[in-house]
């Protein structure tokens, strides 16, 4: 019989007659309390809507801002810097994507935990990870994060450059034809 780590009981009120509990909770000996998981898109959507309304869909909003603002600044800033040194868009994008993905993992892990649990406080998540699991836990998943962000960034940043150049060329062409 397979078992998820530490999953021992279901939400109170779900009897054995109901074979489809909407939500499972991790018990206290597990990774962290109050884990929210859903088996299908429909059940996730329905659960969030019924329990918390529209605002429920914005759980972890602050954590997303805290992750994405430094991420975007580092990504775009470093990309321009590396590109000016090595003059190769694809190589620069790969280096930057891998590096920035790796170092922003602590921010990403906080967002992941906030969005999959009912903890609701960034400082509590950080404190819990630090004290219960140790600081090295902040880098857990960093390699996986870097290894999908590296190819993704390699495609996306040069594509953005090419599109911008194309739009600028088109704009220049239209202004010069208007001058003539």
């Amino acid at each position: 019989m397979q078992r998820g780590p530490g999953l021992t009981d279901f939400q109170p009120g779900i009897s054995l007659c109901n074979p489809f509990p909407r939500r499972a909770r991790l018990s206290s000996d597990a990774a962290y309390p109050g884990l929210q998981v859903h088996p299908s898109l429909r059940s996730a959507y329905a659960h969030i809507w019924k329990t918390r309304g529209v605002l429920g869909f914005y759980q972890g909003y602050k954590a997303t801002v805290v992750r994405d603002v430094p991420y975007t600044m580092m990504e775009l800033g470093l990309y321009d810097l590396v590109k000016s040194k090595c003059h190769n868009e694809v190589l620069s994008a790969a280096l930057v994507g891998g590096f920035v993905g790796y170092v922003t993992n602590p921010l990403d892990i906080v967002k992941t935990r906030l969005m999959t649990s009912d903890i609701g406080s960034i400082t509590r998540v950080v404190r819990d990870i630090w004290t219960k699991e140790g600081p090295q836990q902040f880098m857990c998943g960093a390699l996986a994060r870097a290894s999908w962000l590296m190819p993704f960034t390699t495609m996306y940043l040069p594509a953005y450059d090419v599109t911008t150049r194309w739009l600028l060329d088109r704009q220049r062409a239209s202004t010069s034809s208007a001058e003539r």
Partner: protein
């Protein structure tokens, strides 16, 4: 799309502290290979939409700045534009990420019992995430 399984592995690692191979194995064991694609639907649709909103808002803000601000104010205005663009796209980005993460986490942590209440009275314990509805 091809990279989504690695993202699912990352999410599971971040939740239970396992290694990359360990997380991948436990996903496949508990939910089958398709488990690696959990959450791909909301991610692909809402993330693509958020990308469109972000660049459209960024360009619109930059155009407004070029028409209404002085030349020396433009570099600073770019940062403000980027901020506004992020706020605009977050309206769809955050729900997409939330749904994706909750579906991804379910491939390893959603465990439930199906109890056969039929004539035989046999109790069946099943652990799956796929044949499931509210």
């Amino acid at each position: 799309m091809a990279l989504h399984p690695v993202d699912t592995v990352k999410t599971i690692q971040q939740l239970d502290g396992s290694t990359m191979a360990g997380a991948a194995r436990s996903i496949v064991k508990k939910s089958g290979p398709l488990g690696l694609y959990a959450g791909v639907g909301p991610y692909v649709t809402l993330d693509a939409l958020s990308g469109c909103v972000k660049f459209a808002a960024y360009e619109a803000c930059n155009r407004w700045a070029q028409a209404n601000l002085r030349e020396d104010q433009l570099p600073a205005a770019r940062f403000v534009s980027a901020g506004i663009a992020f706020m605009a796209c977050s309206v769809v980005l955050v729900p997409g990420e939330l749904l994706k993460l909750q579906l991804q986490s379910s491939v390893c942590f959603f465990v439930f019992h199906v109890v056969d209440t039929g004539a035989t009275g046999a109790r069946v314990d099943r652990f799956s995430t796929w044949d499931f509805s509210l």
